[in-house]
Symmetry: C2
Subunit: 366 residues, 2 copies
C-alpha cells in the first residue's frame, strides 16, 4: 500500500463479491427479484461485479447516478427517490434509452409530468411504512387511488408497484427489533399491493434496506428487494448484527501524522471530509466515527479491545490508544478505520477506492 499517501478506501474485492453472491442466492431462494441499490458504492467497477453475478436491474438515488450507470450499460434503473421534476430533461433523455422508473411520493408532481414527460417511464408509489421520511401513509388508500387514477391518465407513465424502505431499522438495537420492523412494514406494503392488484394486476411490492434483507429469510408477499449497503456493510450494520465482522469489505486507510503521549492520543489524516460525521454510540465510549483496525498485507484485523475513532474535524481524526498498542502506530504508518456508515464514506472517497486484491487504485470513468 506504499502508493497510498492520503486517505483512501480499501476495498476487499473477495468480500464484496461474496456479499453480492450471498444476497443474490438469498433472493433466488426466496423467489424475489434482486434490484440492488448502487448509491452505496457509486462505482462502475463494483457495478460490474454485480453484473458478472447475474444482476440486471438496479436502483439509485439520483438522476446523476442513473446517468452514470446507464453509460455503463445498465438498462433497467429505478431512481428510488421522490421524482425531482427540475431534472425532467435528464429524465426524458434517460427514459429514451433505458427502462427508467421513477418514484411518486406526492401527487402534486403529476400535472407537470403530464405536460413535460416525453418518454415512456415506469413509476412506483412510495409508501411510508414507519420511517417517516417520504411517501404515502398506508392508511391513505383514497389518496393513493386518486393519485393512480391521475397518473395513469398519462399514457407515458406505467404503474409498476409500491416501494417501501424501512429506514427505521437503522435505529434499532436488536435482531428482534429489526424483525419486528420488517413484519409491521412488510404487512402494510403487501396489504396495499394486494388491494390495488385488483385494478393493476402486474404490480409488485418492492422492499428496501440492508438490515432486514440481511436478517430476514422469508419475504412473504414481497416481490423485490433493494438492499444497497450490504455490498460493503460497516460498523453500524455490525453493531445492528446485520453482518458478521468478516463481511465488512471496506476500511479507510489513513496516514498517522502525530502522537500525543500526554493524552495517549494518535492523530490521523482522516477526518469529516473522508470518513463523514456519521456516528454511533458505543458502550462505555460514547459516540464514535469508526473502529480503528490494524492494516495487514491482506486487509485488516481488529484489536482485542476495540479502538475507536473518537473525534474528528475537517481533516483530523483522533483516537485514544492504550499503552500496550502505543507502538503499533507511528507517523508515516497507515491506520485503518472501519467506517460507521460506508455509504457516506464511499461517497466522500469515491475517487480514492483502492483494490486490496490487485494492489491498485480503481480507475473509474467519471
Amino acid at each position: 500500500m506504499d502508493d497510498i499517501v492520503s486517505p483512501a478506501l480499501l476495498i476487499d474485492e473477495d468480500k464484496c463479491r461474496r456479499n453480492i453472491r450471498h444476497m443474490i442466492a438469498k433472493a433466488k431462494q426466496s423467489k424475489v427479484i434482486f434490484r440492488p441499490h448502487f448509491k452505496t458504492h457509486q462505482s462502475r467497477i463494483i457495478g460490474r461485479w454485480f453484473r458478472e453475478a447475474g444482476t440486471e436491474k438496479i436502483c439509485v438515488s439520483s438522476v446523476t447516478m442513473a446517468k452514470y450507470f446507464a453509460a455503463d450499460g445498465w438498462q433497467d434503473i429505478m431512481i428510488a427517490f421522490p421524482v425531482n421534476i427540475r431534472e425532467i430533461e435528464e429524465i426524458n433523455e434517460l427514459a429514451s434509452r433505458i427502462q427508467l422508473s421513477i418514484l411518486i411520493a406526492d401527487s402534486s408532481v403529476l400535472p407537470f409530468l403530464q405536460t413535460h414527460l416525453k418518454q415512456p417511464t415506469g413509476f412506483y408509489i412510495k409508501l411510508d411504512v414507519g420511517n417517516y421520511r417520504s411517501g404515502f401513509h398506508p392508511d391513505e388508500t383514497d389518496d393513493i387511488s386518486r393519485t393512480l387514477e391521475q397518473a395513469t391518465l398519462n399514457t407515458l407513465l406505467s404503474f409498476k408497484g409500491f416501494v417501501a424502505h424501512a429506514g427505521q431499522t437503522y435505529q434499532t438495537h436488536s435482531l428482534n427489533d429489526v424483525q419486528k420492523a420488517y413484519r409491521q412494514g412488510s404487512r402494510l406494503l403487501t396489504a396495499i399491493t394486494e388491494h390495488f392488484r385488483n385494478d393493476y394486476p402486474s404490480i409488485i411490492a418492492s422492499w428496501g434496506d440492508t438490515p432486514t434483507c440481511s436478517l430476514v429469510n422469508e419475504f412473504e408477499g414481497i416481490d423485490e428487494i433493494r438492499p444497497g449497503n450490504f455490498v460493503f456493510y460497516d460498523l453500524m450494520q455490525f453493531h445492528l448484527a446485520s453482518c458478521d465482522w468478516d463481511h465488512i469489505s471496506v476500511a479507510v486507510a489513513a496516514p498517522v501524522v502525530a502522537k500525543r503521549k500526554m493524552r495517549n492520543e494518535i492523530i490521523i489524516y482522516g477526518g469529516a471530509v473522508h470518513v463523514s460525521k456519521d456516528a454511533i454510540e458505543v458502550h462505555d465510549t460514547g459516540y464514535v466515527y469508526g473502529e480503528i483496525v490494524k492494516l495487514t498485507e491482506k486487509g485488516w484485523e481488529r484489536f482485542n479491545e476495540p479502538l475507536y475513532l473518537n473525534r474528528i474535524s475537517q481533516e483530523h481524526g483522533i483516537f485514544h490508544c492504550p499503552d500496550e498498542l502505543w507502538d503499533e502506530f507511528n507517523p508515516g504508518d497507515l491506520a485503518g478505520v472501519v467506517p460507521v456508515h460506508s455509504c457516506l464514506t464511499a461517497d466522500l472517497l469515491r475517487d480514492k477506492f483502492y483494490n486490496l486484491k490487485t494492489g491498485a487504485f480503481f480507475v473509474e470513468e467519471r
Copy 2:
C-alpha cells in the same frame, strides 16, 4: 436559478468580498499578517477575490489543496496540518516551486525529513492551546527545545514560528467565552514565542480560528492571523455570534420533491452528501442541520419564525413547515438551506458553486 436542477451552493459574491475586505482591514489595523485559510472554499475563483484584495500568503489543510492553489499562482502557502510524511514527494515538488511551510506536531517525523526532504522548506511548531487536537503542550518547553535543535540541524528546514488554532471556540456559547478562550490561548502562544525568540529572533506567533478573529479587536503579541470560515460564515458562527446574519454568504439551493401534510413536513433533495451531517442544537428544536430560508431574486431571506432542517439521510432532507408557510414550498421549487458548517458543505458541493451575482455556475479548473 432555472439552471439549478440539483443541490448547489449559492455564493453571494458581494458578501464574500465584503467579508474578505473586512478581515483584511482588521488585520491591517491590528498590524498582523493576514494568511487566510483556503480549506473553507477550496476554490481558485474565490482565491482570486482574496488576491484582488491584496492577499499574498495563504494556508490550506492538505498537500492536495496546496498543489491546487500553487497551480493558480499562489507562492506562499502554509500547510496547516501536521506534516504527512507519506506525501514527501509532493512536498518536495511543491517546495521546489513555492515558499512552502509545513507543521511539525511530533518530533518523530524529523529523522525521516532529514533523509527525504530535498528542498528548502519552512516549518512551524504546532502548539495545543486548549483544543486538544494536535501539537505540543505549552508546558513542554524542553520537548520543544529538543525538537527545534533537531529540526534546525536540517539545513533545508527553516523555523518560522509557532501556530495555534483555538478550535475550542467552536464549542463556546457566548462572546465572553470566545474572548476568554482567546485570552488564555494567545497568552500561551505569545509566551512560548517570546521564550524562543531569544534563539530564533525572526519567528512569529500565528493564530487561527474564525470566532476569535471575528470577535477580538486587539491581537497583542500575535503576528499573524489565519481565519478561514469567515469568507462564508454559517449557522454555527451566527449562533456563536461571530457574525451577523447578513454576513453569511452561502446557502444550499435544494429542490423540493415532496410534501407530507399529515406531518407538516417537506422533503427536499439535499441530504448528508450535500449539506453534511454537522449539526447544532437549537433552543426548543433539538439538533438541526441548517436553517431553511426563502430564496429570492437576489439571495435569501429568513422566515420570521426560523425553520430548520430537522432530519437528513444520504440524499433526503426533511423540515417541519407550519401551516402559514405551507404554500411557500412546492415540488419543483428550490428551498434554501443555510448550512451549519459551511466548510463541510462547500467541500461536498465544491463543483456545484453557483454565483448569484453572475447567475452562473463557477467554472473551476480541477
